[in-house]
């Protein structure tokens, strides 16, 4: 009960900003430590793969980026429900702050996947279901950011972006199951499959460490971006108030 009330208290933007300011240094330190550990495990400890050789090390960057690209969009989809159904004061702030982060990690997944594909598949790109649906995810992020910047009124932009985000969220299960539904060059799920992961622990643990490190990085950047967005909105309100009071101020007597 106390936990629930402390979570709902964060719905207040001022309380959320104070909370973010308090936890960000600790989270940033944990992120730096996990990134260092993840890179050490991935680049030094993990052995070369018996088939892929050293190229397997690209996976420690590619897979966490791909997970975060999808997680960012899932956060935006949940936040969009918050905008349209509950009109939560922080929902649109969360959605807006997640978009550039999700786009960046999606781009990173596409770029590293391409660089992994050339030595393994013999090509940088194929129009198979997984790669194409992931490219669509990237384009969705860009489209949402463009739509938001094209609408000046924030509440209208929030609603339009929420609707488009929810429409685009149909792509997330398509990305996830594309490797099962269609015959793709991309390998099927090897970590999140039913039963045991199809990966040796010497490769799996460095991958999970990097996934945790990148997730922490996303959380830190998202919290920081949400705090900045709250300042931007307060600034906008103050500017409008100042302009309105200047417009309606009585003319000075001559």
């Amino acid at each position: 009960m106390a936990l629930l009330s402390s979570i709902t208290a964060l719905a207040n933007p001022a309380r959320f900003s104070a909370f973010a300011t308090r936890v960000l240094p600790w989270l940033a330190a944990a992120t730096a430590a996990m990134l260092a550990l993840g890179l050490y495990l991935g680049l030094v400890v993990a052995p070369a793969d018996y088939q892929q050789g050293e190229t397997v090390r690209i996976m420690f960057l590619h897979v966490p980026s791909a997970w975060l690209g999808m997680m960012g969009y899932t956060i935006m989809a949940v936040a969009s429900l918050g905008v349209l159904i509950w009109r939560h004061p922080l929902a649109d702030v969360a959605a807006k702050a997640a978009a550039p982060l999700g786009a960046a990690f999606t781009f990173l997944a596409l770029a590293t996947g391409s660089l992994w594909g050339k030595p393994m598949w013999g090509t940088y790109w194929v129009w198979d279901a997984r790669l194409t649906s992931f490219l669509i995810l990237f384009l969705m992020y860009l489209g949402l950011m463009a739509l938001r910047s094209a609408i000046e009124e924030p509440s209208r932009a929030a609603k339009a972006c929420a609707v488009l985000t929810l429409v685009g969220s149909v792509n997330i299960p398509i990305i996830k199951f594309s490797v099962d539904w269609w015959n793709t060059l991309h390998q099927p799920a090897s970590v999140t499959r039913m039963g045991k992961p199809a990966m040796d622990p010497t490769i799996l643990w460095p991958l999970l460490a990097n996934a945790l490190a990148f997730t922490l990085l996303f959380v830190v950047l998202h919290l920081a971006a949400m705090r900045t967005e709250l300042i931007r909105r307060r600034l906008r309100t103050l500017r409008i108030t100042a302009a309105a009071s200047a417009a309606f101020a009585p003319e000075p007597a001559e």
Binding site: G53, R57, T112, T228
Partner: protein, 52 residues
Amino acid sequence: MNDPHLGFIVASYAIGLTVVVALIGWTILDYRAQSRALAELEARSGRRRSRP
């Protein structure tokens, strides 16, 4: 590490480093810019309100 595909590995991590540094840098710079603008506006409006 003596792998024929070393260039692909280095390029991947170079792009990863660039993206992460750019995201962190953009987040810090945006926060500083917005905080400064808010402080300036509040200081200005505070002076205006304090005038008779």
